[in-house]
């Protein structure tokens, strides 16, 4: 009961103790930031009133309210229990707190020790810092003192060094005239100019002072002398381009007028270059004199190496000096224009020389020297053009190359033409020669073969020569001219096509101009040429042109002469030549026949015993022509005939045909109209074209010749009057011709017809037309 009594006594004290305890607890809790979890764990009876004033663990616990509530609601037993429970909890809490206090106390004591120790250390450090500060102050003071001490001396030294440099400059200036003189004596002009350049502005600045004035005067005098010497050297010309360039550089530095210098520089360069040109010209020799002593490659080489090389050097140094130099902007334009004019003038002279030299190059053999020379020439000009793009030299040089190429082509064309003519002369000679010597003549076919082959070879070699112009390693071969026009207009048209045309032209001359002037041309040559042209038409032209097109890969497609055009031309020439051959041979035979008819007295002739010799000659000639033509032309087509053709037609000739034709003249009383009509009809139905074009075969050629001959025979007969035996002689002759001529012609009826006509006309022109017995004629002819 004491407890319980004490309980309530103590109880009122509790809330205050509780409150006292509570506050530090709250502060700690505040310090640690913990939520108040104690009340929740314990709770107990006050669980329902969480957080309220009755929750013993809550923050708003009010001991009065709690006690009041307990006393009101709980029975004593429960109060007792509660009191016991509370005491128990208080005791547990007290022990816990004691434990905690002991633990923390220890820690606190050690912390206090540490702080005390730190305090001691800091004090020591502060002492040292104080000592340091004092030292620093002392040092500062010393330094200030030293610098103030040295101040005066430093100013003096600066002044002295200024004076020193000034004195050196002055000394330099005073010594300058002497130095300059020495430099001039030693020919160290560069050095002199450098010295003078250094001193010039100063001298200029202080020229109002008499002493400086004197120096300046001296210097100017020396420099004038120097300039004079430089100019002399400059004019003297003994020095090379490099020296010269140096001279000019120095002079420019001396402030000489640039334009004058440009002029002088160029004038000097010109004199030297012109000397070189003159040397080249001397090498060329007088126009019209014997050929040059050196070949063109050597010439061009020399030109390139000496002239163009030096020119390039001049241009380069000039540009360096006047055009692209620092601070030369003002004169660059003028200097550049002067240079271009200068270069163009010299180059023009040079080109004139080169062209003259190229024109001397007439040798028609190997082209490679010329091409190589041109290549070198062109290459060097490219270099020049790169140096001086404004100059026209490169374009003009290309022009020269193009002209040379054109000229070359022209020469080759001429060479080909003359070669062709030479070949013809050879052929002509070999055609004429055997008759003199009497040995076996080379056959026409062989001659033709030789002619064709040699001309083709010549064309090929010329093509090869010309091809050099377009070789890959030649610089100008990629110029547009050499890629297109050269191939098309130059080689193909200008050379090959022109040559073929000239062949045709030459061939044409044989029948156009020479034809009427008599037999200047041997007929065999006509025949040969005709075959030659025909061969060209069939194969050679297209072969040559294909070869050309292959070698000169043609890139542009400007209109070119077509193969067909050339072929047509060649064919026409061949045709006309063959026609002409027929005419010439026909003329030869018909002249014989004409003479034989005209010179004989046909009225008082004796009875025929023999065939006249002229007829045998005609047959012989026809045979030899047959052989000749057979060598070059194919046989040709004949109308079908049997082997005994002469015999078979003989009967026709002697009986029916001849009789029908003779009839009107025997019976003049026969009606005129029928005679006339039959004659007119004959004129149209059996008309024979005498001078018609022949075909390219032997039979056609022979037919043409025989037609002409017999027609002439006929016309001659018609102009004469015959006696009986005259008629009979003609009969014999015609029968003889009949026997031998049929085999040469394409249509034997033609021969029969013409011979009939001859005999008919003779009978008509006969005073006493008594024909000879056919059997007698046969006997006479067979006898020979």
């Amino acid at each position: 009961m004491s407890a319980s009594a004490g309980g309530p006594v103590a109880a009122p004290a509790e809330p205050s103790a509780e409150a006292g305890k509570r506050r530090p607890h709250g502060m700690l809790k505040l310090y640690y930031g913990l939520p108040d979890a104690a009340g929740e764990a314990r709770g107990g009876p006050a669980r329902g009133d969480l957080g309220g004033p009755t929750d013993i663990n809550g923050p708003h616990f009010d001991p009065e309210v709690f006690l009041t509530k307990l006393r009101k609601e709980c029975p004593l037993a429960q109060l007792m229990d509660c009191e016991t429970d509370t005491v128990k909890q208080i005791r547990a809490l007290d022990s816990d707190m004691q434990t905690l206090v002991y633990e923390n106390y220890n820690k606190f004591i050690s912390a206090t020790d540490t702080i005390r120790k730190m305090k001691n250390d800091f004090k020591k450090m502060e002492d040292e810092m104080d000592c340091l500060a004092t030292n620093m102050a002392v040092i500062t003071e010393f330094s200030a003192r030293i610098s103030s001490t040295l101040q005066d001396q430093h100013v003096q030294i600066t002044k002295l060094s200024g004076v020193h440099s000034l004195l050196r400059k002055l000394q330099f200036l005073f010594e300058l005239p002497a130095r300059l003189t020495k430099c001039v004596e030693l020919a160290a002009y560069g050095q002199a100019v450098r010295y003078y350049g250094k001193a010039r502005s100063i001298l200029h600045q202080y020229q109002h002072m008499p002493s400086f004035q004197g120096i300046q005067d001296d210097c100017q005098k020396i420099m004038a002398d120097l300039a004079r010497r430089l100019r002399e050297k400059f004019r003297d010309g003994g020095s090379g381009a490099k020296d010269l360039a140096e001279c000019v550089g120095l002079l420019l530095q001396l402030g000489e007028p640039a334009e004058e210098l440009c002029d002088e520089f160029l004038a000097h360069a010109r004199s030297r270059l012109e000397a070189e040109l003159e040397a080249m010209e001397a090498e060329l020799g007088q126009p019209g004199a014997a050929g040059p002593s050196t070949d063109i490659l050597e010439f061009t080489d020399r030109g390139c190496n000496s002239f163009v090389g030096n020119l390039c050097l001049v241009i380069a140094s000039y540009q360096e000096l006047f055009v692209s130099r620092e601070g030369a902007r003002a004169i660059a334009r003028m200097a550049h224009d002067k240079l271009v004019a200068f270069v163009d003038r010299l180059i023009a002279h040079y080109f004139a020389l080169v062209e003259r030299r190229i024109q001397l190059e007439r040798g028609l053999g190997d082209n490679s020297l010329l091409v190589r020379a041109l290549d070198r020439f062109h290459r060097r000009l490219q270099a020049l053009a790169r140096l001086l793009p404004a100059s026209q030299a490169a374009a003009a040089g290309t022009e020269i190359v193009v002209r040379a190429a054109k000229e070359r082509i022209r020469q080759y064309l001429q060479a080909l033409q003359s070669f062709f003519l030479d070949c013809l002369t050879d052929v002509r000679q070999s055609l004429a020669a055997p008759r003199l010597v009497g040995k076996e003549s080379p056959s026409l076919a062989e001659l033709l073969g030789t002619l064709s082959a040699s001309i083709l070879n010549q064309i090929k070699s010329v093509l090869a020569y010309v091809h050099l112009f377009t070789a890959k390693d030649i610089t100008f071969s990629n110029k547009p001219y050499f890629k297109g026009e050269f191939c098309i207009q130059g080689v193909r048209e200008g050379l090959i096509v022109s040559f073929i045309k000239s062949i045709c032209q030459t061939a044409r001359q044989f029948f156009e101009t020479v034809s009427d002037k008599g037999g200047a041309t041997p007929p065999a040559l006509l025949l040969l040429l005709s075959r030659f042209c025909l061969d060209y038409e069939t194969s050679t032209i297209s072969y040559i042109l294909t070869l050309t097109d292959e070698q000169f890969l043609v890139q542009d497609h400007s209109p070119v002469t077509l193969v067909t055009v050339l072929c047509a031309e060649a064919r026409e020439a061949a045709q006309k030549l063959l026609n002409h051959y027929v005419k010439v041979q026909g003329l030869i035979i018909s002249q014989m026949l004409r003479k034989s008819v005209e010179t004989r007295d046909w009225i008082s002739t004796i009875e025929p015993r023999n065939v006249r010799a002229v007829m045998k000659r005609v047959v012989e000639d026809a045979t030899s022509i047959d052989v000749q033509v057979g060598l070059l032309y194919e046989e040709g087509v004949r109308k079908a005939q049997s082997s005994d053709s002469s015999k078979r037609t003989f009967s026709v000739y002697s009986s029916s045909r001849q009789q029908s034709r003779y009839a009107p003249s025997y019976t003049p009383s026969a009606p005129m109209d029928t005679n006339l009509l039959s004659n007119i009809q004959k004129l149209f139905s059996e008309r024979i074209d005498i001078f018609s074009p022949v075909e390219f075969n032997k039979v056609s050629v022979l037919t043409g010749i025989i037609k002409i001959s017999l027609k002439t025979f006929l016309e001659c007969v018609r102009l004469r009057a015959f006696g009986r035996y005259g008629l009979q002689q003609i009969q014999v002759d015609c029968y003889y011709l009949q026997l031998y001529l049929w085999r040469f012609v394409s249509d034997e009826n033609l021969v029969h017809f013409l011979l009939d006509e001859i005999v008919g006309s003779t009978a008509h022109r006969c005073l006493d037309p008594v024909p000879m017995e056919q059997s007698v004629i046969e006997v006479i002819c067979e006898r020979g």
Binding site: S604, L676, L767
Partner: protein, 274 residues
């Protein structure tokens, strides 16, 4: 004319000689001489009436021989000259003569009766051109613009110039020139130029054409090998004084300028036959 049918006139005999009658200015008239060895030869006077497109003819007998060449006097339309063959047994000789046709035929106005042969009239011989010393006559030609008193004849290689006197009854040789050269040269044809006061004559022999001056009787130009074969005939351009045409057995017709005889002015080759 183009629309009209062609007018054809048939001859009995073959003929080689034809000439226009230039003295006849009113009508278009031609003279044709025939060639027959066995029968009497004729001269046909052919009038062409171009208005009615018909032909009138008269026939004269020319009994001395076949006619190789004929030419009419430029002054007197009744006068003509012929070259003819005189045939004897052993030889043939070509002569030339000047003839006068009967008066009534001169005008050519009236048509002779149908049967011409029965009623044919004969020519009256005026004179012979004596050629015994010179050879066969090939051609006679009158002075074109003259009074019909001068003519030339070609005899073998001689060019003869004749003067007709006493109203053409006497022919006097007033000049001659011979063609020199190797072989037997023979003139085939000749023509008197109407220009240059009729002082020029052109002749053809073989393949050559030659020009002659009748005043000096000397050669003034020559075209050797004018044609590839025999020159058949030639003529002057009546309107252009230097131009000459020739044709030959080579089937060509060529035009020449006599001032430049090296080359023909033009050549026609259209024929392939003669």
């Amino acid at each position: 004319m183009e629309d009209d049918a062609p007018v054809i006139y048939g001859l009995e005999f073959q003929a080689r000689a034809l000439t226009p009658q230039t003295a006849e200015t009113d009508a278009i008239r031609f003279l044709v001489g025939t060639q027959s060895l066995k029968y009497d030869n004729q001269i046909h006077i052919i009038d062409f009436d171009d208005e009615n497109n018909i032909i009138n003819k008269n026939v004269l007998l020319h009994q001395v021989g076949e006619i190789w060449h004929i030419s009419a006097s430029p002054a007197d339309k009744g006068v003509l000259a012929t070259c003819y063959n005189k045939t004897s047994d052993s030889k043939v000789m070509t002569c030339a003569a000047v003839w006068r046709m009967p008066k009534e035929l001169e005008s050519g106005s009236h048509e002779s009766p149908d049967d011409s042969s029965s009623n044919a009239q004969t020519l009256e011989l005026l004179c012979h051109l004596d050629n015994t010393a010179y050879g066969n006559m090939a051609c006679v030609a009158w002075e074109p613009m003259g009074d019909g008193k001068k003519l030339i004849s070609l005899a073998d290689n001689h060019l003869l110039l004749w003067d007709l006197q006493e109203s053409s009854t006497k022919a006097v040789l007033s000049g001659s020139v011979a063609l020199e050269g190797k072989g037997q040269l023979k003139f085939t044809s000749g023509q008197w130029s109407p220009h240059h006061n009729c002082t020029q004559v052109a002749t053809a022999n073989d393949t050559a054409i030659r020009g002659w001056d009748t005043r000096s009787m000397s050669q003034i130009y020559c075209m050797e090998n004018a044609h590839g074969q025999l020159v058949r005939d030639l003529d002057f351009n009546p309107n252009k004084q230097y131009y000459l045409a020739s044709c030959g057995d080579d089937c060509k017709v060529k035009f020449w300028d006599t001032r430049n005889v090296g080359e023909p002015v033009k050549t026609l080759e259209e024929h392939s036959h003669w």
